[in-house]
Symmetry: C2
Subunit: 344 residues, 2 copies
């Protein structure tokens, strides 16, 4: 009788108990498991990794002096050369690769391109001439206007998706969405797990990057701050509204514009900024000028073996990081793995 009662009591409790356990325990176990795990396994131990982990711990420690409320945890990441590979730009930068394809597709309607740079270089497959032509700002603008404008927002999105479906990176022969830096994706995940709101702040076209930002970086469309043409609201005769992309560049989101457009879109200073050259210094300055603790990261391309070694536009940034004692990241020394698709 005593045993029976006992068993009956247990039997009565068991289903509810198990159901509740099933609901609660996995979450608890998961939290425990994550705590013990290295959140940045593709980073080698060193100053950069330590600076990141310290910063994240400090700004999320409610009882500490450096605590920052979740809504103020804004992170801004450059993309080209910071989240994924871009070198050499006239060949591998994704938007130039897209423009090259578009120029070849549309060449039959543009006889004048045979004589006009940078179109001529693209049609001649002359990479050297193209690299030279694109050092001219107006040539670059012409290329963007001709290949990214003069169509609706919906048409442009479809064109970019068609490009992404088959395009491969010339050097690494992988889809563009997989030539990301694995350590940087881990960093994005770490920040998100700690209630940071992460933005990509790019000089590339916002609507272009939006077609891949979720897949490549885990960043939703509305968190992409980039360059844009003028949009023009129009209506079909039947009354359906749509947006037309004019053949111009209305917002060129680079250098000081990156800082200014963070204000336009977010209305807060970032507290975490990552970039790879002088064009990212102003958004780093914005982080440094605020009242909150901040971390600025400069990614250095110093690994000719696993990626590329170049620092063509980083003189000011290197000097600033040195004098301010900000944190630089050596791809050669700080990254255990470089490119995501390799899963080295």
């Amino acid at each position: 009788m005593s045993r029976r009662t006992n068993i009956q009591a247990a039997a009565r409790l068991t289903p509810i108990f198990l159901a509740i356990l099933a609901l609660c325990i996995p979450a608890a176990l998961l939290a425990q498991r994550t705590e013990g795990k290295d959140p940045l396994p593709s980073w080698r131990d060193g100053q950069a990794k330590l600076a990141i982990l310290d910063f994240v711990r400090e700004v999320t420690d409610k009882s500490g002096p450096k605590y920052v409320k979740p809504e103020e945890r804004i992170a801004a990441f450059d993309d080209d050369g910071t989240l994924w590979t871009e070198w050499p730009r006239h060949i591998n930068q994704i938007q130039i690769a897209f423009a090259r394809q578009r120029v070849k597709q549309a060449a039959k309607n543009h006889g004048e391109w045979k004589y006009q740079q940078p179109f001529k270089a693209i049609l001649d497959d002359d990479d050297k001439a193209l690299a030279l032509a694109l050092t001219d700002f107006w040539n670059k603008l012409d290329l963007l206007r001709e290949t990214h404008g003069g169509m609706t927002v919906d048409e442009f999105g479809a064109t970019v998706r068609a490009f992404l479906a088959t395009a491969k990176h010339s050097t690494f022969k992988a889809p563009y969405t997989e030539v990301t830096y694995e350590p940087m994706l881990e960093l994005l995940a770490l920040l998100r797990a700690n209630e940071f709101k992460v933005y990509v702040v790019t000089s590339a076209g916002a609507d272009f990057i939006r077609e891949l930002s979720e897949r490549a970086f885990g960043i939703p469309r509305e968190c992409v701050i980039g360059s844009t043409p003028e949009y023009e609201y129009r209506e079909t005769p039947a009354g359906g509204g749509y947006l037309f992309r004019k053949a111009n560049v209305d917002i060129l989101n680079d250098r000081s514009a990156k800082a200014e457009n963070i204000q336009l879109h977010v209305g807060r200073r970032p507290i975490f900024v990552a970039g790879n050259n002088d064009n990212d210094l102003e958004m780093m300055g914005l982080a440094a000028g605020g009242k909150n603790p901040f971390l600025n990261l400069l990614i250095r391309h110093d690994d000719a073996e696993r990626e590329f070694a170049y620092e063509d536009n980083s003189a000011k940034a290197l000097e600033k990081f040195r004098s301010r004692n900000w944190t630089t990241v050596s791809m050669k020394n700080d990254f255990k793995v470089v490119l995501s698709f390799r899963e080295e």
Copy 2:
């Protein structure tokens, strides 16, 4: 002995059991309770309420033909006259009330204002002259430039917060953040509970509205799309970066600009749009031109007793809503309660 064993067993289980119960049950109960509850208690039963509840049910029903994925559930709300009261504009529209205060504070440094509209009317406390002066677009622009520009983003934020700390609505004698429409706040909460991302899309200054959007509407700073001056990135001699608001209006976020700037900020068409006059038609057209189901709402100011009766800029909107069979909301008939602070 049998009882003791029983009790011991129960005693062993109880603390864990209670702890787990404490964790799990409130959530389950809450979900159950919310399901049976009217999510729009301040709305009278009628076509508008029905249209809203039907729409939200349909786009969130995964097995239904009108399902819309959460990331595409973008809602865009005008604010003045849609989320809160704005009439008569030259007195009660919050940004004009702010500008009036700023003009009086700064008058001693601006001798010329004694002779110049709309400043003269403000200094003379001549509401009739001010109403007339502000019908001129350039006068309105002058007022905004003088009172909202020529200072840093941080200084402007502090000025707006100081204004909000004491300002009261002239007619209703309540803080501005409480002259919201209670039924509309319930609607915002309903949409958020159903994984909509809600933006306020306003012709008012983005940085102004950001100082109150969370408190008044539950909308975070980064979800405010509004008018802005040109921002200019600057650095202090010590090297701290900050943003300066130039004394101009760079983005005037009204009419077609509302649709265009939804693309700039969000990169998606809205599927739910609410406004109160012709200036909101383009963003409604953008919703209507997409492939997803959509709901456009027009708030009609027809309640002279509880608020104001006016439709000074709604002729096109009324005709469009009639011909398309879109959903209008009569504040008189559809709202059980109007203003939040009254808790009628």
